[in-house]
């Protein structure tokens, strides 16, 4: 009897063990399946986003690639009945010829000089004004801020003629007397090309929004410690403004670098021309010298590409600044 009981017990145990093993196996299978599903879904997601990213990259890079391709083609290839994407022989001489077509050293210098000065001064002015609007309370602040926003809504074409007259009538410049008469004022000068760009509603607005996210306790504790407003701005706010300054800097840089109309009307000599004006020199009454135009465009835009690559981290951070309220 005892043996029978023992055998039955063993059988039961075996059955239990087998059941446990079965359960364990089933669980393992389930886990593995879950993992598999998870793995598949992760891969599927990555594949989808990756594909979309590649398509977007190709779409955005396509104009640049066409530009690069055309810059290395002969005019015959450009005019060919079928689209030529890869030139038979890369014509690097187009770059040399493009640079010989005008005083490009001077145009580059003018653009770099004007843009650098504009970026430096405007960053300082915009951030300081933005700080004032974000932190200092004074009478008429809101009205002033609304006026500033209105400035953003007026198209530059509307203000162009009055601004030109202001520059021409600038007192004590370019042969003008104290009343701004008698000479040409700031026409055909670097100052005339820089002054209208150093301020800007958008920059002030961007900085204000950025500084609004800072805790007010920062100011209060600094004020208790005896810090002046200017010191607070310079020692606390400015060092924390890298993202917004970088993004504003790059926006100002591209805006000033790409500006065409203002330098067009403000300059009247070859020595004051900027790169954007010079790029139109490849077109005459009948045709456009596309390969040289594209070569010159690549050279002139290379500076912007480099700048963006260096500052892209801050650029994105700055764009997002102020989008979340803490």
């Amino acid at each position: 009897m005892k043996e029978e009981v023992l055998i039955r017990g063993k059988i039961r145990n075996r059955g239990k063990i087998q059941d446990r093993e079965r359960i364990l196996n089933q669980e393992k299978v389930r886990e593995l399946k879950a993992l598999e599903i998870n793995f598949c879904s992760i891969n599927g997601y990555k594949l989808l986003t990756g594909t979309i990213a590649v398509i977007l990259v190709v779409l955005t890079a396509f104009p640049f690639l066409i530009m690069l391709s055309v810059s290395l083609q002969t005019m015959k290839e450009i005019y060919a009945p079928e689209l030529v994407f890869i030139p038979e022989k890369a014509q690097f001489v187009n770059y040399v010829n493009a640079m010989k077509n005008g005083n490009w050293g001077r145009y580059m210098f003018n653009s770099i000089y004007i843009t650098t000065i504009v970026v430096i001064i405007s960053l300082f002015i915009n951030s300081m004004t933005g700080y004032v609007f974000a932190r200092i309370n004074f009478k008429g602040k809101n009205l002033l801020f609304i006026l500033l926003l209105v400035g953003m809504m007026i198209p530059p074409q509307v203000t162009m003629v009055p601004l030109f007259i202001m520059m021409r009538r600038f007192p004590l410049a370019g042969g003008n007397n104290i009343w701004g008469a008698g000479g040409t004022g700031l026409i055909n000068t670097y100052t005339g090309l820089i002054l209208p760009f150093i301020a800007g509603s958008f920059g002030v607005f961007l900085c204000r929004q950025f500084y609004m996210t800072f805790p007010k306790d920062l100011d209060n504790s600094a004020l208790i410690d005896g810090c002046s407003r200017f010191k607070i701005f310079v020692r606390i706010y400015l060092p924390l403004s890298k993202p917004v300054l970088a993004s504003l800097g790059i926006l100002k840089f591209t805006g000033t670098w790409n500006e065409y109309t203002w330098p067009l009307i403000m300059t009247n000599s070859d020595s004051m021309k900027t790169v954007q004006i010079a790029l139109t020199m490849f077109r005459d009454e009948a045709e456009v010298i596309w390969n040289q135009l594209m070569a010159a465009t690549i050279i002139s835009s290379a500076i912007i590409y480099i700048l963006f690559l260096l500052l892209q981290k801050y650029f994105v951070a700055g764009i997002l600044a102020g989008s979340l309220k803490e």
Binding site: G174, I187, I265
Partner: protein, 437 residues
């Protein structure tokens, strides 16, 4: 702290003023005293006499380097010959940039002394008071009878001469001689009439199934300025305005042009926009109407030597074509008109007209130079003839609007979006509405 801020502000202001002075003086050196533009500078000479130096500003339409270089060399020569006159050269790209710059300069009271601009600018800028008449100067000029009548007409408005042409851009008829020979046509006998053009175009068209792979006659189906349509209108004896400067769009001659084009163009054409490259340049067409300068790369291509022919466009009633031109004007703000005219005279001298035709491949505008010009290049005789029979854009205040309305009208008819009569009437009414406004 307040003191510090005040001092900082004052320093910044002073620095700004200094900077403006510095940049002014440096740019003035470059631009040769732009601030003294159009004024007299009195410099005491060693003998105690007064030497009056005049600086004139000159703004030209188009900023391509070859032409800019030509003008700079002419200015240098002119200044050497006229020690008391300085010319400050400037240019702006064709189209919107030139208009923007000129409008802003005039609005700011700083209009150029001498302006190089096109036909479309004449009526509007004369009416706005931007150009001054030069009839008196012109009547006393030795070259007045030598200028081609068709060219002179472009700068004349309400019986006054305002501008004189320094460059012309006639549209010519171009065809492929090798394709003519291949189709059994005489390569030396291009079509002269509309009927011949239609017949030749059909013979020269190559198709693969329903697809046209080679156009018998390339005609734009969209355009920035549909001057190819104007060529047919002028060749049919038509005009776009009458003696009182009123539009004459819905007239029988335009109906005939449309009927002619519609009768064959879809069978023989590869559609293109005339802002783009003409299929003829790409080797995809046997015949076309084209700006003579745009054809130059083909004529210079050794592979196409003797394969490209040019002629005056085929016509129905009158031998005519479209011919644009750029002219020299004297601006409203010019204080030294005599000196400005002197420069215009120098630029339009026989020597300079011929020099431009050599350097820039521009057809001559003086009758006495026709023979010499024809000898320079085998294609020049046709180009010169096209200038002589050339007609430009309307010299009316509504001509900029006409350009847009005419373009839309031609497209509507060519794409059969509207009947010929409807399109012509609509264009006429729109222009009349514009004028009445």
């Amino acid at each position: 702290m307040k003191k510090f801020v005040t001092i900082l502000l004052i320093c910044t202001m002073l620095l700004g003023i200094c900077a403006s002075y510095t940049s002014c003086s440096s740019s003035d050196k470059n631009s040769e005293s732009s601030d003294k533009s159009s004024t007299l500078q009195e410099d005491p000479t060693s003998k105690g006499e007064v030497d009056k130096t005049v600086t004139l500003t000159f703004l030209r339409i188009g900023n391509d380097a070859p032409e800019a270089n030509y003008w700079k060399s002419l200015i240098k020569k002119f200044e050497e010959e006229n020690k008391n006159i300085k010319i400050q050269y400037d240019d702006a790209a064709i189209g919107e940039p030139m208009e923007t710059k000129l409008n802003t300069l005039f609005a700011g009271g700083a209009g150029p002394d001498i302006i190089g601009h096109g036909i479309l600018s004449v009526a509007n800028r004369v009416e706005a008071g931007h150009y001054v008449p030069i009839t008196e100067y012109f009547n006393q000029w030795e070259g007045k009878d030598d200028i081609m009548e068709s060219v002179l007409a472009n700068g004349t408005y309400k019986s006054e001469v305002y501008g004189l042409a320094y460059s012309t851009t006639p549209y010519i008829f171009a065809y492929r001689k090798d394709m003519f020979a291949e189709a059994g046509l005489d390569p030396e006998k291009p079509p002269q009439t509309w009927d011949e053009l239609r017949e030749y175009a059909r013979l020269l068209t190559k198709k693969e199934g329903d697809r046209i792979v080679r156009a018998g006659f390339a005609f734009p189906m969209a355009a920035g300025n549909f001057v190819e349509f104007d060529v047919f209108v002028f060749g049919n004896g038509g005009r776009f305005y009458d003696d009182s400067n009123m539009p004459t769009i819905n007239t029988p001659d335009k109906v005939e042009v449309f009927e002619f084009l519609k009768s064959f163009i879809d069978e023989v054409n590869i559609p293109y926009n005339n802002n783009e490259v003409n299929p003829f340049i790409k080797g995809n067409a046997a015949m076309t109407l084209i700006n003579n300068v745009a054809l130059r790369p083909m004529l210079d291509d050794p592979e196409l030597k003797d394969k490209v022919g040019v002629a005056v466009p085929p016509y129905n009633k009158v031998k005519a074509t479209f011919s644009g031109c750029n002219m020299l004007f004297i601006g409203r703000d010019c204080k030294n008109k005599d000196e400005a005219w002197k420069f215009i005279e120098a630029a339009l001298s026989k020597e300079q007209v011929l020099e431009r035709s050599k350097q820039l491949n521009i057809p001559v505008t003086r009758k006495s130079l026709l023979e010499e010009f024809s000898k320079l290049d085998p294609y020049n005789a046709v180009r010169a003839e096209c200038v002589q029979v050339g007609i430009g854009m309307p010299r009316t205040v509504w001509s900029p609007r006409f350009q847009t309305i005419r373009n839309e009208m031609v497209q509507k008819v060519l794409y059969s979006k509207m009947s010929i009569e409807e399109a012509l009437n609509e264009a006429q009414n729109e222009l009349m509405k514009e004028i009445n406004q």
